[in-house]
């Protein structure tokens, strides 16, 4: 199929087309149908699949994770750092479960890989932090408090109260970046 | 109307100061911009003297067009570069010039002060001009009656100017062929 310039007669004059354009824009002003989502008050409806901040699912206050090391292995960003420990009943559990959020690309592969349905991605996206930190297990765990079943309530619709994750204020343990995760230090 | 005398002296001193800068500063860009200030002062003096149209023209043509051209050329030749910092070639010439010009200036002042203006005055007194519709209108009608021939001649002058500059700026096709 050939695309061609079509050159209607009117187009030879600047003014006609200019007025068409002006009409289109002024229509927008008059109708004023804004599409803006006024973010802190209104939110877009993200789907269930939205890949946001991680949390560790737990059942009856015990986290599902058995420190099987699948997620750190599969993570393409290499941003999960787990140290396994053993509980009294010989069950393994993560003593340390750090995620370098600033390295994570929210690909969801850890969730996909987890055989215990432990690590999950919530749909919280407000994660901005003023310092480069990794988040510790306690932080991932704390999401438990939100819901008995271990799910984070999904934020839906316009006008929902923001569910901010404010790192320093939440009094959470956040640590310096894992040296492995930090880049080579070069300076001028 | 002492205020006007005050303004005259203000403009005059500005003009002299800036024209000295124009003549003596090394950087041609500075020269050009101070020349613009001189033109403004002149426009002010014209206005004080009641030559309103001339005053407007002074700004439109001198400040608004001629100096634009100067500034363009300075920018174009990158005349800010050190190679352009040229003042007098010879100190002797400089001193001689100062002496001669200063002397001539004093002589002129003396002459102006001690000679009377011609007693013959024209018909256009201030009130007369006002009655005829103001400086602009009077000047305009003069231009198209008494001074018609010079006016028509200027068109030829401008044409010559156009042809001349274009010829200078653009080499003739023939010359181009020769070159290649």
């Amino acid at each position: 199929m050939q695309v061609k310039i079509q050159r209607p007669f009117f187009q030879r004059f600047y003014l006609v087309e200019i007025f068409t354009g002006l009409w289109i824009t002024i229509k927008k002003v008059i109708l004023h149908r804004t599409v803006t989502i006024q973010y802190p008050e209104q939110r877009r409806n993200y789907s269930e699949r939205f890949r946001g901040l991680h949390y560790i699912k737990s059942v009856q206050g015990v986290e599902n994770c058995t420190a099987c090391m699948l997620c750190p292995t599969v993570c393409p960003a290499l941003c999960i750092h787990i140290e396994a420990g053993e509980k009294a009943n010989k069950e393994k559990y993560p003593v340390k479960f750090d995620i370098d959020l600033l390295r994570c690309i929210f690909c969801g592969m850890c969730e996909e890989a987890c055989p215990e349905d432990a690590i999950k991605l919530s749909n919280i996206y407000e994660m901005a932090i003023p310092k480069r930190q990794v988040i510790h297990k306690e932080f991932l765990d704390i999401q438990r408090g939100k819901d008995k079943a271990g799910h984070i309530p999904k934020l839906k619709g316009k006008g929902v109260q923001p569910n901010r994750v404010d790192f320093p204020e939440a009094g959470l343990k956040v640590g310096p970046v894992n040296p492995r995760a930090a880049g080579p230090k070069e300076s001028y | 109307m002492a205020l006007e005398v005050l303004f005259f002296y203000l403009f005059a001193s500005l003009a002299i100061a800036f024209s000295l800068i124009t003549v003596l500063r090394k950087n041609p860009a500075v020269c050009a911009f101070s020349l613009i200030m001189v033109f403004f002062s002149f426009a002010g003096i014209y206005a004080l003297l009641g030559a309103h149209l001339i005053s407007a023209l002074q700004i439109i043509v001198y400040a608004g067009a001629i100096m634009v051209l100067f500034v363009f050329v300075i920018m174009l030749l990158n005349a800010d570069a050190p190679s352009f910092d040229l003042t007098s070639s010879h100190w002797g010439l400089r001193v001689a010039t100062f002496v001669i010009c200063g002397g001539l200036f004093l002589a002129f002042v003396w002459a102006f002060k001690n000679s009377a203006l011609s007693p013959v005055t024209g018909p256009f007194t201030g009130d007369q001009v006002k009655a005829l519709g103001g400086n602009t209108r009077v000047l305009s009608s003069l231009l198209f009656t008494k001074y018609l021939y010079p006016f028509e001649l200027t068109s030829a002058l401008i044409l010559a100017g156009i042809v001349g500059t274009i010829a200078l700026a653009k080499r003739s096709p023939a010359a181009k062929k020769v070159k290649h």
Partner: protein, 425 residues
């Protein structure tokens, strides 16, 4: 094809009207070159943070007045070693890197990558997966073209136009996000299948979206296509003719704008494109305006393709029936030991791809996107070469811009839609 591009006008003479686009001038005299002196040339550096260079490219141009006399392009400012990473990440992990190639249409990259590994493995994804992949490709193509057309307009100063298109792209992101949970970096495909099945009612959403998009495209069309200023700015600008297209291995819309009637979806049909009805818009001159028209026409074609796909999509499995690549369902993992072991092996080590090599291409939004994978039988590739269309198009920029104004260069660059991610890889 829609009315606007199909209609021909009886009084329309192509060559003449193109000449008349400028101010046809009886007094036209070819300017003589030595009316300027040699060192009045200015060397000006555009980029890498120049607004016209979209953040990551650089052009150094020798200007004669406003005209670019000679220029050279530089890039590499976003080089991220994806090819090297292909040798250090498993085939399963590598899909996240394909998102970051042409990030305006990440889904096409995902699909192409999956296809190329599947080719080496000899795995066939099931029908539903293929349909969904196709729909994804077309949505991605539209988002890509919308950005390109919009950015092209911004470069010429029409900012509002860009935002109209951009909103529709936002809506497309909603669709994509519903599908895979991310807006831009989708990582949607898996070797032999998909990350998720399409959610219920997704087809309907798609169709609603195509309907709305068509209206928006019409509006954009009205605002720009016949705008005299826009036409004057684009016709005859940044011409890449057929010869140049061959020299620089142009593909995709940029080549089609020059009149090269080639579309891999039709000429080397992969997936189910041969079962669909669509047309391939072709331009004639290969200038900025043609590229714009071709892209607009392609958006319309893609919209109709999406409609057809949505009609033909049927429920079914989304995973290939091949144990090597298949990620076991979570329920199986909890319940069966065998699945558990497989699951562990899959994620701990990844699957091995038999030795061999293949070069797989698809028609991406910008042109021929190819993955040349050499496998030595490992879980990671031996060589992961990505053939990106932008690389070849960008190469031609200094040729295309030669003798044009800098403003034209900006328009040209916008119209060939160079994406830094796939240019630098």
């Amino acid at each position: 094809m829609s009315e606007t591009t199909k209609t021909s006008y009886p009084l329309y003479k192509e060559a003449d009207s193109r000449a008349a686009a400028g101010f046809g001038d009886r007094f036209l005299v070819t300017p003589d070159p030595d009316d300027l002196w040699e060192d009045s040339r200015v060397i000006i550096n555009l980029g890498p943070t120049h607004p016209a260079m979209h953040g990551a490219f650089r052009m150094v141009a020798k200007l004669n007045g406003e005209t670019i006399e000679k220029s050279y392009c530089e890039f590499g400012y976003t080089h991220r070693a994806k090819e090297k990473l292909g040798e250090h990440r498993t085939y399963h992990q590598f899909v996240v890197f394909t998102d970051r190639l042409n990030y305006c249409s990440a889904l096409i990259n995902n699909v192409t990558y999956a296809m190329s590994v599947e080719k080496l493995l000899g795995v066939e994804p099931p029908e539903r997966a293929v349909w969904i992949r196709m729909a994804c490709c077309e949505i991605a193509r539209i988002t890509d073209h919308l950005i390109c057309v919009g950015i092209g307009a911004v470069d010429i100063g029409a900012f509002s136009f860009f935002l109209y298109g951009f909103h529709q792209r936002e809506e497309a992101y909603t669709l994509i996000e519903k599908l895979c949970g991310a807006r831009l970096t989708t990582s949607y495909t898996r070797i032999g299948g998909l990350m998720y099945d399409a959610p219920v009612g997704w087809e309907q959403d798609c169709k609603a979206w195509t309907k709305k998009t068509r209206e928006v495209i019409d509006e954009m069309d009205k605002l720009l296509t016949n705008n005299r200023i826009y036409v004057d700015r684009t016709v005859g600008i940044g011409v890449a003719d057929k010869k140049m297209c061959q020299d620089y291995s142009f593909s995709g819309p940029s080549a089609r704008a020059a009149g090269i009637d080639r579309d891999l979806r039709r000429d080397e049909p992969y997936m189910f494109y041969d079962a669909l009805k669509f047309e391939v818009p072709v331009g004639s001159q290969g200038d900025v305006y043609d590229r714009y028209l071709v892209r607009l026409a392609e958006i319309r074609e893609s919209l109709s393709i999406i409609d057809q796909i949505c009609d033909r999509m049927k429920p079914g499995p989304i995973w290939a029936d091949d144990k090597r690549v298949r990620i076991p369902a979570k329920v199986d993992v909890y319940n069966s030991m065998e699945a558990m072991i497989h699951h562990f092996k899959f994620f701990m080590k990844g699957f091995e791809v038999p030795a061999g090599e293949a070069y797989t291409t698809t028609e991406a939004a910008n042109g021929e996107l190819g993955f040349y994978i050499v496998s030595k039988g490992d879980t990671m590739s031996h060589r992961m070469r990505i053939r990106s269309p932008s690389f070849w198009h960008y190469h031609a920029l200094s040729d295309m811009a030669q003798g044009q104004k800098i403003a034209d260069m900006v328009a040209t660059l916008g119209s060939i839609n160079i994406i830094a991610g796939e240019l630098d890889r």
